[in-house]
């Protein structure tokens, strides 16, 4: 592949550069608290849940949509995984239960949006409450903790994928999964018909329709895929918590959307980068980790992350204005 537009690469690399800058700044501020290999492994594992959901969210946002229900879907999928493990379906069964749950939730979002012609913001605001309620209902309003011997061992099996502890392991399996998903998501955006149509719908839905793009089917597929990835994120969260907690991942949708936006996506649609979103998720995890390491309280992290989002979008707008002239 020949690289024709360096601008694209600057846009993609910028969030990764920001990660480096943040690490350096903290290192200068507190040289006694460096980022060790172990810290990186830990931070990478912390990125998994938001990162997986952000891959799907990038596609949704590029199609000029939004998915506010992603936190609820993650919680519901985690509960599904826990229930499946508890019912003796095994680790694989737990994963499948979560994936199916996530995909169904996403597809339902898509059907509401194209069927009732609801703005994605409203449709997923509604299902955000709906899925959260279902999660609490099926979990009988408490954490699902697989307790018999088989359940415990299956849970431990899933937990092993997520925890960055195993000796001789460079990265946790979940981190490899995140990287592979990101590469696949970025590749498919450029090289498949679905990716092309996603960009086209986000850029101009009227033009896409004129060109014969099946708008409704495409949107349902995009939301279903985003749901599937949220389901995968739900498995990872279950692995980390070792319980299916229906009240987990509250507010995580904002982190996911922030990661996508920091990664260079436009909420107006038509633009966005999957690898950028991964960098966005990593940036936020690194910030949280560093703030904790130097002993800054939680609210400082929130203040900094808030400004990083504002800065990222401001830089992007400035870049767009420049290239337009």
């Amino acid at each position: 592949m020949k690289i024709t537009l360096p601008g694209h690469w600057i846009g993609t690399l910028a969030p990764f550069l920001a990660v480096v800058v943040v690490v350096l700044l903290f290192w200068v501020y507190a040289p006694d608290q460096p980022m060790t290999l172990q810290t990186w492994q830990f931070v990478a594992a912390q990125t998994v849940v938001v990162g997986l959901a952000a891959v799907g969210m990038t596609w949704v946002i590029i199609s000029a949509g939004i998915d506010l229900s992603v936190g609820s879907v993650i919680a519901l999928s985690g509960v599904s995984a826990a229930l499946a493990v508890e019912a003796g379906w095994g680790a694989i069964g737990g994963v499948l239960a979560a994936l199916v749950t996530g995909a169904l939730c996403g597809a339902y979002n898509g059907v509401l949006i194209v069927g009732l012609r609801l703005p994605p913001f409203i449709a997923t605001l509604g299902t955000m409450g709906f899925y959260r309620g279902v999660a609490k209902w099926v979990a009988a309003n408490e954490s699902v903790r697989p307790e018999d011997a088989a359940g415990v061992s299956f849970t431990a099996e899933i937990a092993d994928w997520v925890m960055p502890v195993a000796d001789g392991q460079w990265l946790a399996p979940a981190v490899w999964l995140l990287l592979a998903t990101t590469v696949l998501g970025a590749w498919a955006l450029r090289w498949t018909v679905l990716g092309r149509h996603t960009v086209a719908i986000g850029s101009s839905e009227l033009t896409a329709r004129l060109c014969g793009v099946r708008i409704k089917q495409t949107k349902v597929v995009i939301y279903a895929l985003a749901g599937l990835l949220a389901g995968l994120a739900g498995v990872m969260l279950f692995g980390r918590l070792t319980v299916g907690d229906p009240t987990s991942a509250v507010g995580i949708e904002l982190d996911v959307i922030a990661a996508v936006v920091i990664g260079g996506a436009s909420l107006a649609g038509g633009q966005g980068s999957v690898t950028g979103a991964l960098a966005g998720a990593l940036l936020m995890a690194v910030l949280r980790n560093r703030c904790t390491a130097v002993g800054w309280p939680n609210f400082v992290q929130e203040i900094i992350v808030g400004h990083i989002i504002i800065l990222a979008v401001a830089i992007d707008q400035w870049r767009i204005r420049k290239t337009n002239h």
């Binding site: 090289w191 498949t192 018909v193 679905l194 149509h197 033009t207 060109c211 597929v221 038509g270």
Partner: protein, 499 residues
């Protein structure tokens, strides 16, 4: 010493990278003069005006207003210096009132308290200078027609007392009657002693509104003179650099068998009981006024407007219109609204050109980007699309080149029947000729072309048969030699007059 003109631009140069947009361009407009600035798209008209209005900076050259040197660094300074622009796309705030729009950005105030009464006289006198005392300053702009909104923009120039007023393609969103009103308004501006620059590529318009003309071609002034001593032919050949007879090239073609048969078609958007048959190897024209249902007819056949009743057959088989099915069956459509619907303007030439072709394929099938790029390069060459390359975004192309991309898409789709809605709207004369040649070539290759146009002359020039639409009803088909501009117009306005 001679009296200096109200506006004088001299020896203006401007280059964007390696592309020379203007070279030594000049423009002089006296008080009380309406000067038409004409030229093809990309000739440099817009760049010259962007420099005048402070959006762009010239590389070299001078601007004088009433003899005083003037070099606006931004649009604000240009406005303060007395330059008012009336744009193609209207720049009014719909949710504000007429008065609020007129005073926007220059609100009269005392210690930050908005006191419109201090300027009310100016507002009223501006509206009455335009002959529109009937527009109340307190009316919400959202309630005005498109033509009246444009009037608000012109009135804004008067409120700020701008001596130089530039009209940039002001008629593109207006109907015939509104255009006449606009010309009256411009005449009032002339009598009031303003200098008016009128940009257009509609020569009929230019001839009825302007006193003098300047033609730009490839960034240079190639001619200027008085409207009264210049013929249309002269203006056209100045613009395109060649003669008018080559405008409607004809290639021999043979009528083939039926491609599209429409019977008793009613659309929810207002087409009533339409009948038509399009054959291979012919160009069928649909004439009619804006709002007659002519676009809706094409959109119904293609599947963009939903059908209430009636049947469409394609190559003898029943066709249930839907854009996706139409493309796969072999029907292509080009929209009249290039910027909103025809093209995704933020996406590249390549993506726009190939978007239709991927729509028939499975979601997870892989795009052959290499082959795609090669195909796109072939089309760029064949259509003579002026672009830096396949990756250039559509929005940075000129109107004519954008339209070529929209049409090249149909060639790339390799469809048998082509539905064209106003294929030459808003493009320059040179590009028009190329579009006409392309339509002729399609028909000669045995394809069917169904074309809607507002220009009767154009339809008479390119079609084999024409049907006229009036209030949703489509008249019977007649061979092109049985029509003339007059009889088409009579039918279009609902008269029964014979040819």
């Amino acid at each position: 010493m001679t009296r200096s003109p109200l506006l004088e631009m001299a020896a203006v140069d401007k280059a964007f990278g390696a592309t020379v947009a203007l070279s030594g361009a000049h423009l002089r407009v006296e008080a009380g003069e309406v000067r038409a600035l004409i030229g093809e798209n990309g000739a440099g008209k817009s760049t010259l005006m962007r420099i005048l209005s402070g959006v762009e900076k010239a590389d070299s050259g001078t601007i004088r207003i009433s003899g005083q040197p003037f070099s606006p660094a931004n649009p604000q300074q240009a406005r303060d210096g007395g330059i008012a622009m009336v744009h193609q796309e209207l720049a009014v705030v719909e949710d504000l009132t007429v008065e609020e729009n007129l005073l926007l950005g220059a609100e009269p105030s005392v210690f930050g308290v908005y006191l419109p009464a201090r300027m009310r006289d100016r507002v009223i006198s501006s509206l009455s200078l335009l002959g529109r005392n009937d527009i109340q300053p307190s009316t919400a702009v959202a309630r005005l027609s498109v033509a009246d909104r444009q009037l608000v923009e012109i009135a804004r120039a008067l409120v700020h007392d701008a001596p130089v007023i530039v009209f940039d393609e002001p008629t593109s969103s207006l109907g015939a009657q509104d255009i006449e009103h606009l010309f009256e308004v411009i005449d009032r501006l002339r009598k009031d002693g303003r200098a008016v620059v009128y940009i257009s590529h509609f020569l009929e318009e230019v001839q009825s509104v302007a006193d003098t003309w300047t033609v730009l071609r490839d960034g240079e002034v190639v001619g200027e003179g008085n409207i009264s001593d210049t013929t249309t032919e002269e203006l056209v050949s100045q613009m395109i650099g060649r003669r008018l007879e080559e405008m409607y090239p004809r290639i021999a073609r043979d009528k083939g068998k039926e491609l599209i048969e429409v019977e008793g078609l009613n659309t929810r958007s207002g087409v009533k009981d339409a009948q038509l048959t399009l054959h291979g190897g012919e160009v069928l024209g649909i004439a009619g006024l804006v709002g007659s249902g002519r676009s809706e007819l094409l959109r119904g056949i293609y599947g963009l407007d939903s059908i209430a009743s009636g049947s469409v057959r394609f190559e003898g088989k029943t066709h249930r219109p839907d854009p996706n099915r139409s493309i796969r069956a072999g029907i292509g459509f080009a929209s009249e609204d290039r910027k909103k619907e025809g093209l995704a303007t933020d996406l590249s030439v390549a993506t726009n050109l190939t978007l239709g072709a991927s729509s028939g394929r499975h979601f997870f099938s892989i795009l052959g980007l290499k082959k795609e790029r090669k195909d796109v390069e072939v089309q760029i060459k064949q259509f003579g699309i002026r672009t830096r390359g396949p990756e250039q975004p559509i929005r940075s192309l000129s109107g004519g080149n954008q339209q070529k991309v929209a049409l090249a898409r149909l060639v790339h789709l390799d469809v048998d029947a082509v539905l064209l809605d106003e294929p030459t709207r808003g493009i320059d004369v040179g590009s028009k000729t190329e579009v006409y040649r392309w339509i002729g070539e399609l028909a000669a290759a045995g394809k069917g072309v169904l074309v809607v146009s507002s220009s009767m002359q154009e339809l008479l020039g390119i079609c084999d048969r024409i049907q006229v639409m009036h209030r949703g009803k489509l008249g019977a088909s007649r061979a092109v030699d049985q029509w003339d501009e007059h009889s088409l117009m009579v039918r279009a306005v609902g008269g029964e007059g014979a040819a």
